[in-house]
């Protein structure tokens, strides 16, 4: 699929900001199944400094600083990109999930060693016996890791209610587990916590999802949002993405921006400012299939 992606973030401050330093992780990363054209970045007011680097995880990070007094900040990133289908799921898994877990702990192979950091605690996710307990029914002895993961993905989708009013950025994972509700970010964190508590490696993926308008209706501009899911490491195969919010395995409609241990490693826009008082935030995301834009303009 070819998409035109537009992500706008606007902060409006109640008091002037004299200086701000920011990091944006809004530039999608290049992947074997994701080809990105150059992004068009518009920042208002114009930053005095802007530079791009890649972070510890290889994500693209844009640093910028605004050094003049301002009372609002708007960042828009437009990217045209193509997504292909991901590698097919493994058909045969060697051994059961416990074998995979033990192999991961012992493996001297480079990819395994690098995956092992994703078994540890991270800023938002701490391993916990209760998380292991929730995961347990999906992980009976003898089941293959792939089947166990797919089952956990399905159960979270079925057991939890999507509720944008319930959580904030700082909702503890245990509250999500108790209340059985949250948003995509919470479900991704929850699944990662479950997998890590079982001794597996899982990482957080930040990105976008093309949402299809109800049949017969036009797409609402700006109605999409950024999305989050996760990937789990299958020793001997690689990183398998799952999307517990939708109970699905991501495909061409899932656009990857970047990944990390959890949300704290990949917030779309992060910053520190002097001044500012209270602020309001508006976010608009459009994920528009390119054939649709061409139809519209035609």
């Amino acid at each position: 699929m070819i998409y035109r992606l537009r992500h706008t973030t606007r902060y409006t401050y109640s008091a002037p900001v004299t200086l701000c330093h920011n990091e944006a992780r809004m530039l999608p990363r290049e992947l074997p199944w994701q080809r990105c054209e150059d992004s068009q970045v518009d920042i208002d007011p114009r930053p005095a400094v802007r530079s791009e680097r890649s972070d510890f995880f290889g994500n693209r990070v844009m640093y910028f600083a605004i050094q003049d007094i301002h009372s609002s900040l708007e960042v828009t990133v437009r990217t045209r990109l193509e997504t292909l289908s991901r590698p097919p799921l493994p058909t045969v898994m060697a051994g059961d999930w416990q074998d995979c877990r033990d192999a991961l702990a012992r493996a001297a192979e480079r990819r395994c060693l690098q995956a092992r950091q994703f078994r540890l605690d991270s800023p938002f996710i701490r391993r916990h016996p209760r998380l292991a307990g929730y995961a347990a029914p999906s992980f009976p002895a003898g089941r293959s890791l792939l089947d166990a993961v797919i089952d956990l993905n399905r159960r979270i989708h079925e057991d939890f209610t999507y509720d944008a009013t319930f959580t904030t950025l700082a909702t503890p994972l245990m509250d999500v587990l108790d209340e059985r509700r949250g948003v995509c970010q919470d479900f991704a964190h929850l699944a990662i916590g479950c997998l890590r508590s079982q001794g597996l490696a899982a990482r957080y993926v930040s990105g976008y999802l093309e949402t299809l308008p109800p049949p017969g209706q036009a797409r609402l501009v700006g109605a999409d949002a950024s999305h989050a899911w996760l990937a789990v490491f299958l020793p001997g195969w690689g990183w398998l993405e799952i999307d517990p919010t939708n109970g699905s395995v991501p495909g061409e409609q899932h656009i990857v921006v970047g990944w990390g241990r959890d949300y704290a490693d990949v917030p779309p826009l992060n910053g520190v400012m002097s001044g500012g008082g209270e602020h309001t935030l508006d976010v608009a995301v459009d994920v528009i299939p390119d054939d649709e834009t061409s139809r519209r303009t035609a």
Partner: protein, 876 residues
């Protein structure tokens, strides 16, 4: 032969024999030595003074003889002198639970720890090797991480440690890095313990903000001052060259290679444990001492906010721990960081010593891997071993640890975690710890306890030497080589030793020791102070002055003067009270003095209890928790003094320390007359303090701000006092006029000039209009006018208009100059004159009360604490 006695028994005669082996001692020295060492126990393990047979190790002989020759009384006197110097120099550190400015100090042992040349050579090689090793490890961990990919280090060992900072990863950028930019370990503190086999063991590495080098230097200077003969003659390696080397290294780090790079020392602030040392080193190395609010990142460079605007900074000598340095990329809840610092360092706009991210090198779980790392990275065997230790994240190690659990010392891997001796725990506690280790093995390290060797410590109560376990912190710095880009590590020939079991934090120790590294032959005596001035010339007190420092000096002046006024008023009140008691007449001025002191007049009581009630009320002002009291006034003064520690002279600081001790001992006071004397002492010390400031501080902007602060406070108080005495008093009249004169110390001046009864006109003349009298409002306004005129012009200068503070002071001055003195002189008889005088006071007070804010607005940067765009939860 010697050494056949039962171990543990003293044997003075044997010692004397041992000493006499080479050359005979004078009978006096021998006697003194015997008294000194008489009951020094033997046989408890390795001791650095005596060998296993009780013989004095040869390198101690000269030192002991020299100390013994001072005699018991002489040494006790020197020891007291050392303590006095420590105290006066303010070698103190903060104790967090005591917010009232009562700082702890330690005792410096007059007997140093002596290390012989051969031992030092070996130790030095081990220390510098360790720095090379950690430097290579640092480069790999934040670069290619081959050690992890090759399986030398388990990934969990590194990624589980909170000191491994993802933001500092350079893996993706190494290709684009400018050649020759040093980014590795610059300065390294290494904590050592000598074990009972006589081997040095490394128990910790300090790389984030290694404290102690300044204390080591200060201890050396103080001991040398207290025992000049001993130090002048000693074949002792000197310390000055080491800090000079560090200084040259700092200058060489400048990313833009400027001729005169601007190096600053970044401190977390006066509340930090080691703030004294930060200020001390800043002074010694001639670097501005800055806090994070003094710095700002713009254009990917670091700038210092000064009175003259933003000045570029090239190199930061950092005493702020990694995680707190940048709220953008490191801990988001840090209020003491500089937003954008990581990016500035990444882009090469600033160099830091040490670079950010080094805290992972303090990881105690690295110890078991160091022998292999040393072979892998340096191709050498590791010279200095650590105690036998295990990182519990390794399954085999965990098994060993659990098997020997009760015999081990366990700690968490996080910085600052306590060492827990399992054998000292209750059964339940030990079980709980065991469960915690099993639940999260990657988070724990265990080690076999070290049996420490002992060193002699002088007991200042018993005048004897006793053996005690000790810790040693050694220091290593990079030193630039002959050619550009060359460098090597160099160890400080000395360090900081402190008494305590292995791993006792230095700041928790009661006794510290100078460390003597003996040289083969006598070393030329070099004066230490200012040796290290180095190639950097920095204007310390011009417009380069950080605005925060100006701010603190201003408030130092204001609070100091406020304390002075209150002490004087209280003194007068107590004096009146005493006179009243003796003469049995109620002094009518007392009620008004209570008013001036913002005290409540006690409810009417029986005449015989009246004196007691009034006295008790007045003396509350000497208590700590009284908001209007003297201690409450002193604390903000002290806080501001400490924030500008590096701008005050040593003499002023000594007086401040006296004052601090005096204030801390103010309450309880046995009597009104003792209270009066206590107030007088405050007045005297304050005057000495400000007198010394005036004599020693360069009369640049810093001093001007302090002076303005003092005189704003003084003119406001004088006007309020006059207002009270002449207009608002319940009982106006001679008694109160006397108080006014006495409070302003003008009784003598008045008598000499007017030779008359007190008369309000004369008082007005003396205290309001006479510009020649330093206590008059006229003089103060003139002085303020002059000082304000000479303040730096802000960036918006160039306009022909006066700034607000200039207009305000001008308004006050002209109001005074235009006053109708003739008319006012009838104040005691004419209601019209009284009203005019009241109006005059109002007209003077009105602009002067706004002056402080106007100056703050024009000159002090009011930096808001940085705020997060999104609030992130932080892992505890």
């Amino acid at each position: 032969m010697l050494g056949h006695d039962v171990p543990g028994l003293p044997d003075a005669a044997r010692l004397r024999d041992a000493l006499a082996l080479d050359a005979p001692l004078s009978p006096e020295t021998a006697q003194a030595l015997e008294a000194f060492l008489g009951d020094y126990p033997l046989g408890t393990g390795h001791d650095v003074l005596l060998d296993s047979e009780g013989r004095l190790r040869p390198h101690w002989r000269g030192l002991l003889e020299a100390l013994a020759s001072l005699g018991e009384a002489g040494l006790a006197e020197r020891s007291d002198e050392v303590q006095r110097l420590l105290y006066e120099n303010g070698v103190t550190f903060n104790v967090h639970d005591d917010a009232r400015g009562r700082l702890r100090t330690w005792r410096v042992d007059p007997l140093p720890l002596a290390i012989d040349p051969a031992t030092w050579r070996e130790l030095e090689a081990g220390l510098t090797q360790r720095s090379r090793l950690l430097d290579a490890l640092f480069a790999d961990l934040y670069g290619p991480r081959r050690l992890i990919d090759e399986g030398v280090l388990p990934p969990e060992l590194i990624f589980e440690h909170p000191g491994f900072l993802l933001a500092c990863d350079r893996g993706g950028e190494l290709a684009g890095e400018p050649a020759g930019t040093p980014s590795g370990l610059i300065f390294h503190g290494i904590d050592l313990v000598l074990d009972t086999e006589g081997r040095w063991r490394v128990i910790a590495d300090r790389v984030q903000a290694p404290s102690g080098a300044g204390y080591a230097l200060e201890n050396r200077i103080i001991l040398a001052r207290a025992m000049p003969n001993l130090y002048r003659e000693a074949p002792l390696r000197r310390l000055a060259g080491f800090l000079e080397a560090e200084h040259r290294t700092l200058a060489s780090l400048s990313p833009l290679h400027r001729d005169q790079p601007h190096v600053v020392l970044l401190t977390p602030g006066p509340d930090n444990d080691s703030y004294f040392e930060h200020a001390y080193l800043a002074n010694y190395m001639n670097l501005p001492l800055v806090e994070s609010l003094d710095l700002v990142v713009r254009d990917e460079r670091v700038w210092m906010r000064t009175l003259g605007g933003l000045k570029p900074v090239d190199v930061i000598l950092r005493r702020l721990e990694d995680a707190w340095c940048d709220p953008l990329e490191l801990r988001g809840d840090s209020l003491i960081g500089v937003p954008g610092l990581v990016q500035a360092a990444r882009s090469g706009g600033i160099a830091l010593s040490n670079p950010l991210g080094v805290s992972v090198l303090e990881h105690p779980g690295l110890a078991p891997y160091l022998p292999a790392l040393c072979q892998r990275l340096l191709g050498e065997p590791l010279a200095l071993a650590s105690p036998e230790s295990w990182w519990c994240g390794d399954p085999a190690s965990l098994e060993t640890v659990l098997a020997e659990f009760d015999a081990l010392v366990v700690r968490g891997i996080e910085p600052g975690a306590r060492l827990v001796e399992v054998s000292s725990l209750s059964r339940d506690q030990a079980q709980a710890l065991r469960r915690a280790v099993i639940a999260r093995p990657t988070r724990y390290v265990a080690q076999r306890p070290i049996m420490p060797a002992t060193a002699p410590v002088y007991d200042d109560a018993e005048h004897r030497l006793h053996p005690a376990p000790f810790n040693l912190r050694a220091f290593v710095t990079r030193e630039p080589g002959e050619r550009d880009g060359d460098w090597d590590y160099r160890a400080m020939p000395g360090g900081l030793a402190w008494v305590g079991s292995p791993g006792t934090p230095s700041l928790a120790s009661e006794v510290v020791k100078d460390v003597w590294v003996l040289a083969e032959k006598p070393q030329p005596h070099v004066s230490l102070l200012r040796q290290a001035a180095g190639p950097i010339v920095v204007t310390r007190d011009g417009v380069d002055l950080p605005s925060r420092v100006a701010d603190s000096l201003f408030w130092l002046g204001r609070y100091g003067e406020r304390l002075d006024v209150r002490a004087r008023l209280l003194r007068e009140a107590l004096l009146r009270l005493l006179e009243q008691d003796q003469q049995e007449y109620a002094d009518i001025s007392l009620a008004d003095l209570f008013e001036a002191l913002t005290l409540k007049w006690p409810a009417a009581a029986a005449a015989e209890r009246r004196f007691g009630d009034l006295r008790a009320t007045l003396l509350t002002l000497l208590e700590d928790d009284q908001p209007a009291g003297l201690p409450a006034c002193f604390q903000p003064m002290l806080r501001n003094c400490r924030a500008v520690r590096d701008h005050l002279g040593d003499d002023a600081w000594r007086v401040l320390n006296h004052l601090r001790r005096h204030i801390n001992a103010l309450s309880p006071v046995p009597s009104a007359s003792a209270g009066r004397r206590a107030c007088e002492e405050v007045v005297t010390q304050l005057s000495a303090f400000f007198g010394l400031c005036n004599e020693t501080m360069p009369h640049h902007f810093g001093w001007r701000f302090m002076d303005i602060g003092r005189f704003i406070e003084r003119v406001l108080h004088t006007l309020e006092l006059l207002q009270l005495a002449l207009i608002e008093a319940r009982e106006p009249g001679v008694a109160l006029w006397e108080v006014v004169l006495a409070t302003t110390d003008n009784v003598t001046a008045y008598r000499r000039r007017y030779r008359s009864e007190l008369h309000p006109t004369a008082i007005l003349d003396l205290l309001l209009f006479d510009e020649g009298n330093p206590r008059s409002v006229g003089y103060m306004l003139k002085r303020l006018c002059r000082q304000i005129e000479r303040l730096p012009q802000s960036e918006a200068s160039g306009t022909p208009y006066r700034r607000r503070e200039q207009r305000l002071i001008l308004q006050a001055s002209s109001t005074l100059q235009l006053a109708d003195i003739d008319m006012l002189s009838h104040v005691h008889e004419s209601a019209e004159a009284r009203e005019a005088l009241a109006a005059l006071f109002e007209a003077l007070l009105e602009p002067l009360e706004k002056l402080s804010d106007a100056i703050a607005h024009s000159h002090f940067s009011h930096v808001e604490a940085p705020r997060q765009l999104i609030r992130m939860q932080v892992q505890p």
